[in-house]
Amino acid sequence: MAMASSAGPGELVEMSWDPVTRIVGNLGIHTKIDFANRRVVECKATSSVFRGYSVFMRGKDPRDAHFITSRICGICGDNHATCSVYAQNMAYGIKTPVMAEWIYNLGEAAEYMFDHSLFQDNLVFVDFCERMVRETNPSLWAKAEKTEAKHADIHGFRTIADIMRAFNPFTGEYYKAALEMSRLTREMFCLMEGRHVHPSTLYPGGVGTVATPQVFTDYLSRLLRFADFAKKAIPLNDDVFDFFYEAMPGYEEVGRRRILLGCWGAFQDPEVVDYRYETMSEWGRRMFVTPGIVVDGELVTTDLVEINLGMRILLGNSYYDDWQNGQVFVSHDPLGNPVDPRHPWNQTTIPKPQRRDLEKGPYSWVMSPRWYDERTGEYLALDTGGGPLARLWVTALANLVDTPFVKATGKSVRICLPKTATLPEMEFEWKVPPWSNTIERDRARAYFIGYATAMAFYFVERAMDCIRRGDVRTFQDFEVPDEAIGVGFHEAVRGVLSHHLVIQKGRIANYHPYPPTPWNASPRDVFGTPGPYEDAVQGLPLFEENGPENFKGIDIMRTVRSFDPCLPCGVHMFLGNGKTLRRTHSPLLGQVGEGA
């Protein structure tokens, strides 16, 4: 079905993609595009699912929190379960056994290896596959056929076009190999946490996994096979992304936004962590992925207490009643610092379902998390760059991580992977890029797969040390206090994850998880601060060669997917205040395809 006729100069064409596919959860993108100048002028995104965790968790036993919150997400649920266990450990005053922490870390490392690979190779790379590139950038395809891949000797694909052919969904060689790897890595996860995605062996106080030589050699055997794949993946990703910059000069502007990155840290160091709020600044800095915030390229903090106190939840264009005059659960943190009424500890969720109004709002089910920067008084709309970008950027600048496998240098991160079946020991270096854009978000994902793989080797060694000592304790008993608060900081696959917990009368009085997607896709808030998607999509130059008649919006889709949107908690973003000039149907391109 043909689109309306081509736009005249200065006219905006409205285009939408709802639902966005190849993401997790429900997301719709509505844009206004200036085809004459080949730019996206405005963009709104809306998600339409509400489930109500923060409502139905109230009154329940706090020990059930991680079982329940795991169900927030069907690809990274274990990240939620782990974060919830961290929050509970703090509330109950637990110091976990060392072996339990290595098992948590091994499980989470397997999750990063699995999820990033599946998302990149089976979801994102379909936007870079032969079929898609032929349909959106035929001249780019022609260049790809003539361009030799720089690292063909490592990954085995001679030209960029060969790589793109291997990305074709269901038939491409790399696509299929990645699906097999996604099962191998999930087996590794199951060895540590029982089952995927919602773990069975995680408890506050530790794990029920039985620590024996068997479980670690089973994990290690699979890790060796995956590491071989990861060592090929990084140079393959570099070849594709460097080609995009070379073949389409200016592509660095696609999805580019101000550098405002947040990372809440991952992988506790069991020698140091005791889950006490009073010492959180110290054990936070000893995590094997450093927590921190980068503003315009400068690292402004690595202190989890400071990060905690700066969190604010603002209501933008969303379907909720405000709680401003509601109950304050926590007036001061355990160190005596005052806690804001708009902090997650003090939030009350009152859903207010209504008709959607895309023009004037409200029109979605999300709130707007922001970080209050005391130095400037700004409410910063932090993003995670899809997860890996923020993790690598903060860890590099913080210059704290120092292990035989992963080392920060102050401007880069060095990742060392040992000898495997087809490749010798190899070292990779992720360097801080000049931009926070679509390509760098995607590139960082490949490097972080290497990072997680490398750290897994370290964790297996440490776990085997415990085995060698006969230290197989995995669980620390505890009692649930009548009154307590806790907070867990962790990195979900896609980025920052926090769980804030308040216990009263021995039951959950308040529970607010903040996964990465509300941060990434947050709307313009009451102060008018734009959200990350607005920065990234608004002003985006179009490189796609199709006109409005058969426009696929591939550069927009690549940008949206670079953030690895994961919407099960509900997302919304509103960008800009345009007038409707012409309403057209969203792109219809040919017949419905075969297979998936």
Binding site: D61, P97, D321, P351, I467, D477
Partner: protein, 78 residues
């Protein structure tokens, strides 16, 4: 069913309450401190370590399933 609006939603007479599936005091809990001494094959030391032996994994001739060399760690099956 008598209906009314409560916080934006139409509600009827409730079949349950939000705290119904919570802990009833007195029911034994897996996290109870002090359960350690009762688990066969596991013993807490004064400094918080956990000593385990073969009885942790078997009820049949456990003593004979311990390592014969005192330098070996005690590693019983899952």
């Amino acid at each position: 069913m008598r209906k009314k609006t409560l916080f934006n939603l139409r509600v009827g007479r409730p079949h349950t309450s939000p705290t119904k599936p919570s802990h009833v005091p007195g029911v034994p809990m897996g996290n109870d401190p002090g359960r350690y001494p009762r688990t066969a094959g596991m013993r807490r030391t004064g400094d918080g370590r956990l000593l385990v032996n073969a009885r942790r994994s078997t009820g049949i001739n456990a003593r004979r399933r311990n390592p014969i060399d005192p330098n070996s760690p005690h590693l019983s099956p899952p």
